[in-house]
Symmetry: C2
Subunit: 378 residues, 2 copies
């Protein structure tokens, strides 16, 4: 049986000439670009007049088991039409599609330059959504201040975006998500109905530092990978603890690529802190923290075997599967194998909820997926 699933975590890979073809040359010249050394060991970053020389991030060299880079393994990923062929073959129906986060977003310190860059990437990304409603593209929001964020949220909502990509921490130097400065942003999200889409591994960082290199030494890559999962949990914790969902009960948030079993876990931890340290908790909330997590928050996972049980045994219904297409760590090439391993022993209602239903609840405009019995549409 071919299983069809919506993906709560997919990516576009921005073309190299995105900014030069879309922005006035005075702005394009200030946007981040990387010039790699011929031997591939170092790169020089040019960002708004700065010149930063650094070792190539190791992640840039990620290859799959056949030695292919992201672009080599899925050449259709950045072709609106060929991409659908890949999706049909894999059994992926609709996708929540993030940009492939480069260094650029948190490296730009000029709010106006950042806003122009976000608008350019959004206009480019929306061509996908316009091409086929199976692409649910996330609009990249400039998050150095509330004013530019609010303006871009309004602009992209008017265009037809249904989701707003937020990094797990705001722009470098900006107050964190639990501060009042962001209240106009939450109000605008509630007003427009956009889903907030957090993607793990997107903490704001300076271009001079190597992103995600929290730890070095033996086991460093595995320790760092595991560390990235906490960022999404933190962002959600800050929103719940500061009362965002209390003030705006309609806001929906999805955390992509961070697994899903953390939902019931963090819900319990929040309730423990809320009840057992009650005398220090400000603001008081009108409901238990776990209720916001169970209702307002969603998560997308790829392979995690315990994630399905977070719904079937622990009752968190807001779990989506995700492919991470076309990234190396995603399921491209083995999507059906992964889906069968995850769901062959799961009751049909729970399987439907995780593969299709939770995503449809977030994005009801998406056309219905084919039935699992039918062959792939051409």
């Amino acid at each position: 049986m071919k299983i069809w699933a919506n993906s709560g975590d997919s990516h576009l890979v921005e073309p190299d000439d995105l900014f030069t073809t879309s922005l006035p040359s005075s702005l394009a010249a200030r946007m981040p670009r990387s010039v790699k050394d011929p031997d591939g060991s170092h790169e020089t970053l040019f960002i708004d007049g700065q010149e930063i020389r650094r070792r190539m991030p190791r992640a840039a060299g990620l290859k799959d088991e056949n030695g292919h880079t992201v672009v080599e393994r899925a050449p259709g990923a950045n072709d609106k039409k060929l991409r659908l062929v890949d999706l049909d073959q894999e059994g992926i129906w609709a996708e929540l599609v993030y940009p492939s986060i480069g260094i650029w977003m948190s490296s730009i310190q000029d709010p106006m330059l950042l806003a122009a860059g976000c608008a350019a990437i959004n206009d480019w990304a929306f061509e996908y959504q316009r091409f086929d409603p199976r692409y649910v593209c996330t609009a990249t929001i400039p998050l150095l201040d509330a004013e530019h964020a609010v303006a871009e949220i309004h602009r992209v909502a008017d265009v037809g975006f249904k989701a707003a990509y937020f990094s797990v921490t705001p722009g470098l130097g900006a107050p964190d998500w639990h501060y009042e400065m962001w209240e106009p942003v939450w109000a605008t999200i509630a007003e427009t109905g956009l889903v907030i889409a957090f993607h793990i591994g997107t903490e704001a960082h300076d271009a001079t530092t190597m992103h995600g290199a929290y730890f070095r030494g033996p086991g460093g890559a595995l320790i760092n990978y595991t560390e990235t999962t906490y960022g999404g949990q933190r962002a959600v914790t800050k929103m719940i603890a500061s009362g965002v969902f209390d003030r705006h009960p309609s806001i929906k948030v999805v955390v992509s690529e961070g697994g899903a079993t953390w939902g019931p876990f963090i819900a319990d931890r929040l309730d423990e802190g809320y009840r057992q340290h009650w005398s220090m908790v400000r603001p008081q909330l009108s409901r238990l923290p776990s209720e916001y997590l169970y209702e307002n928050v969603y998560a997308s996972f790829q392979h995690d075997r315990s994630a399905v049980k977070a719904m079937t045994a622990m009752g968190w219904r807001n779990i989506c599967w995700g492919s991470d297409y076309p990234h190396i760590e995603g399921t491209f090439g083995h999507t059906q194998k992964t889906l069968h391993e995850l769901f062959d022993d799961v009751d049909p209602v729970s399987m439907r909820r995780i593969t299709i239903g939770a995503f449809e609840e977030l994005f009801p405009h998406v056309p219905a997926a084919p039935a699992n019995e039918s062959p792939a549409a051409g």
Copy 2:
């Protein structure tokens, strides 16, 4: 029915005169002590010649729902005999008993002074274990360097300790758990058979900084409480990723007060990182990371409703319940209510494993708990 449970998380509260009565005056004078302002707003810390003035930590003012501090609510906690009366009344059989972590451990930078302080607290704590085998006291290990740690582990194992308290990060300035410097410590733990007992919220920190105040602003207390849960997960991640359990398969680790649902979650995240980023992972491990977590790692939780399902639905058998007695956030006064809420709908085998069995597996020398049907022993 009265439910009896072993506790994987309990505490002693050190008497104020612990160091002056146990150490030579030249050493005692250098140990940390706090002098509080009459109005309770600030304190002055004296540590090895330093004088540090700071606001009183808010946690010091924690009170229960009746307005009682830790010492007021459970006056028997530091009386070997009266404590047993409390335990009998609550239905707590054996306890893994930690010190009540003060600021002192990570504030001492002289390895010899730290070793002397640890030895003093261990000699005092062992009087409890000697008094009754229901007290399984953790020996506090000096963790600024491997040499002193190894020496104290040998000393306390010879005395009869069965567990070694490790802070979730090593002493301030020391290399982290995944570095080779700690190999003699793991070897000594394996040789002596002591269980490593991590307690969350014990990151090394300088006395001039407020411990645990990672975030301020709206929701800060709840955000900080939630943040403390990650430290135990990180410590375990570092041990697994650097191959500690590969080299020493007999080592057992318990993480106390951090919930338990994180076990299956982090196991999945580790496997995801290990498989999907395989080309960057050093060292390679002889088994999947999740296998070490499921076999070598245990966790103790208090109220978390999803924790039981981490065993019954997700298959992680190494879950203990814990009381956190006599701390404010613990179950003292409502232990039976908590145990019934957690276990009334759980099959007897799983309930037995979580309340009794996992703890007995770690500490087989502890006498058997009374049957749940029998009245409390006097």
